[in-house]
Amino acid sequence: MTDQSSQAEIVRNSLKRRYRKERRFRMYGILAIFIALASLFILFADIISKGHTGFLKTTITLDVTLDSETMYLDDPTDEDQRSMADFVAPIIASLQEHFPEVESAAEKRELGRLIGTYGASKIRDLLKDNPDMLNTTQTMEFLAHDRVSTYVKHADNPRYSIKLSEQQQGWVDQLLEKGVIDTSFNDVLFSRGDSREPANAGILGAIVGSLLTMLVTLAISFPVGIAAAVYLEEFAPQNRITDFIEVNINNLAAVPSIIFGLLGLAVFISLFGMPRSVPVVGGLVLALMTLPTIIISSRAAIKSVPPSIREAAEGVGASKMQVVLHHVIPLAMPGMLTGSIIGMAQALGETAPLLLIGMVAFIVDVPGGFFDSATVLPVQIYLWASSSEQGFVELASAGIMVLLTFMISMNALAIWLRKRLERRW
């Protein structure tokens, strides 16, 4: 009896410790989740706090008198005259109306520096398209110089240094009060390609480049991946060769992405002589990279189709191909799509392989086709983050927000497709 009671004693005594152990174990789990969530929160908070101002542009609205004498321009249709004309003068003249005390040439130049360098080209292009506007007064909206923009947005943020002179700061303050300088939604960001001037830099070129690249990637990796998965799963004999292929596909999924870039450089550019920096080559490289992901997830999806479906179809006399096309693929489609979309989302965020095939480049013009030089979203963010001008800091963060939006919507699409098409047995 003593023996039993002492055993019960031991159990009772250890019970408390075991409960404590379990509580601790759960605490570790909660802590892990908390750390993950906290770092995600810090990341988002940091990006949004830095990047939200990137969605604002600073504009200066002026009534500009397009006087032919101040511009030295009689005939705006004449190219030679246009190249010799002074399109900055009318901007300075109309700014001067707000500050009649500005007289000296040096001060005037300082005043003109409030406007970004695109101001003059804006007037030139307007006159080129509408020659009859010469000697009229037009209300025009100009983008403020990067320095003005930094001052307006971040005057009291110690992370930024203000590079306007005291006098220029005074002018900007007055213009702000009059409502001549204003901030509004930054449509430039979504309507232009890259620029070395933060105020004129846009992300459209990168968005289009990403889109073209992803189209090529999808067009190649999706059909090839699914065909490979269907063959391996439904038709291939079980032998050493298929085992070998299977092991290699799994290994390929773990190969660092830069290796695919090297492959692209050696095969597509050096061997096939395809041009550098084009979406076709980028798409091909990324397709190779996403193929294993798609094959693996598609095989898993095909495997999860119950054998009873196949047997029933074969039972009513369907051929192997009919079984696959009519039953297995439609039922496995949600899984295949999810795998493909996740693979594509991964490819969308990739920069390393693109570095080697020349897609990390300064490209201003928005690409118009698969063979135009292009860059992609993550590369654009990288380029902005490493530029010296302060205005690019907020643009890089704004770019990250755009990229994250794309990623999240692609993942949401994958979840939605899965939920919608999923079938339970």
């Binding site: 190249s83 360098t117 695109y118 080209s121 240094s161 203000i162 590079k163 620029s195 070395r196 001037e197 189209l215 090529v216 999808l218 067009a219 190649i220 999706f222 059909p223 090839v224 699914i226 550019i269 096939f272 002589g273 395809m274 041009p275 550098r276 920096s277 076709v280 798409g283 091909l284 096309l325 009519h326 693929i329 439609p330 489609m333 020349g358 990390v360 480049a361 300064f362 490209i363 201003v364 013009d365 698969f370 063979f371 030089s373 983050a385 490493s386 530029s387 010296s388 001008e389 302060q390 800091v393």
Partner: protein
């Protein structure tokens, strides 16, 4: 079912169309590769050129000077770049490589100068360093401080250990990685310059001397910070005891937060860098492939824009982004040579 089939066929078709490409197509955009130091200047010129002419904006890749020259010398044909930028002069070996690959006529353009500065936060004391002190602070092996012509692992941990006139804080310097042209130039000019102050190192055999002078210490005080100079600037403003090494243009952009140390008593001003009175200065270059002129439209016009007074002159717009212009007579002479696309002979290197 039919829908699915059509969808699959369309995708497969699209795939095969995309996979078949026309190799070596005619190109109407100028392709430029090369140095990340010249990149900020060349991009500004390229953007202006694209905006003010009917030619498309040239495409610029920042591949580093060595990488750019390698691509440039691979051959003639539109799949190869037209122009390469470099933050150092072409080496004779690279010129021979070009010749061997059929890139016979190359025009060399020196566009200006750039200085490498050692800077710290404005909240800290301004430093006055000599090249010798820089070498002693950052080299892997230094001459024995107890005297004698022998090398020992760098014992200096505080600036004041090197020279009592320097402030008493830990040596902590952030600099570019070995892939960077700025690092090459820093090592070749600053480190080697400081190291040659010691006669016994100077008298060493050339390759041995280089391996001593070019080895940066790896025990902590020198921190490789990646190519992103912005990060260095951020770190400097947070930590006043840290120093950073970067190009002069970054100093110009961030004068609110950081200040440069004087080296051998010379302040890094544009004049001092241009005249090479400031010791850590170098020239910037680009190279034009003559065989592509007339094949790819706009090359001559782009080069003309680059070498016009309003671009690279004393009041040109490149000065605003930190280029240090050449003296006027040199600019004029270069512009003329470039206009005629005078090829290099290989002897000038």
């Amino acid at each position: 079912m039919i829908k699915l089939k059509t969808a699959l066929t369309t995708l497969a078709l699209a795939g095969s169309i995309a996979a078949v490409s026309a190799p070596a197509m005619a190109r109407d955009t100028i392709n430029i590769v090369g140095s990340s130091t010249v990149y900020p200047f060349a991009t500004v010129v390229a953007e202006r050129f694209g905006r003010n002419t009917d030619f498309p904006t040239p495409k610029l890749e920042s591949t580093g000077s060595g990488g750019g020259l390698k691509l440039f010398c691979e051959g003639v044909g539109t799949q190869h770049p037209d122009i390469t930028n470099a933050s150092r002069r072409m080496k004779p070996g690279e010129f021979e490589n070009c010749q061997a690959n059929g890139v016979k006529e190359i025009t060399e353009v020196r566009i200006g100068a750039d200085g490498i500065v050692i800077a710290n936060s404005k909240n800290a004391e301004k430093l006055d360093l000599t090249l010798e002190q820089v070498f002693l602070a950052l080299a892997k092996e230094v001459p024995n401080p107890d005297g004698g012509d022998e090398l020992v692992a760098n014992p200096y941990m505080n600036w004041s250990d090197i020279d009592s006139s320097l402030p008493d804080f830990e040596i902590s310097v952030m600099g570019p990685p070995p892939t960077s042209g700025t690092r090459d130039a820093f090592v070749e000019i600053a480190m080697q310059g400081g190291c040659k102050k010691y006669d016994f190192i100077k008298n060493m055999d050339k390759s041995e001397m280089k391996s001593v002078c070019h080895a940066m210490r790896e025990d902590g005080p020198f921190i490789e910070a990646g190519e992103n100079d912005n990060l260095i600037v951020q770190r400097l403003s947070q930590d006043p005891q840290t120093l950073g090494i970067f190009g002069y243009s970054f100093l110009m952009e961030n004068t609110g937060q950081i200040q440069a140390a004087t080296i051998n008593g010379v302040e890094p001003t544009p004049e001092a860098i241009s005249s090479e009175e400031y010791p850590v200065a170098r020239s910037l270059w680009f190279y034009i492939k003559k065989a592509h002129v007339g094949v790819v439209p706009g090359i001559q016009e782009y080069v003309a824009e680059f070498t016009s007074e309003s671009t690279w002159g004393d009041n040109g717009y490149l000065v605003d982004v930190g280029l240090i212009p050449l003296p006027r007579d040199q600019r004029m002479a270069t512009a003329k040579r470039v206009k005629d696309l005078e090829p290099m002979t290989g002897n000038e290197l």
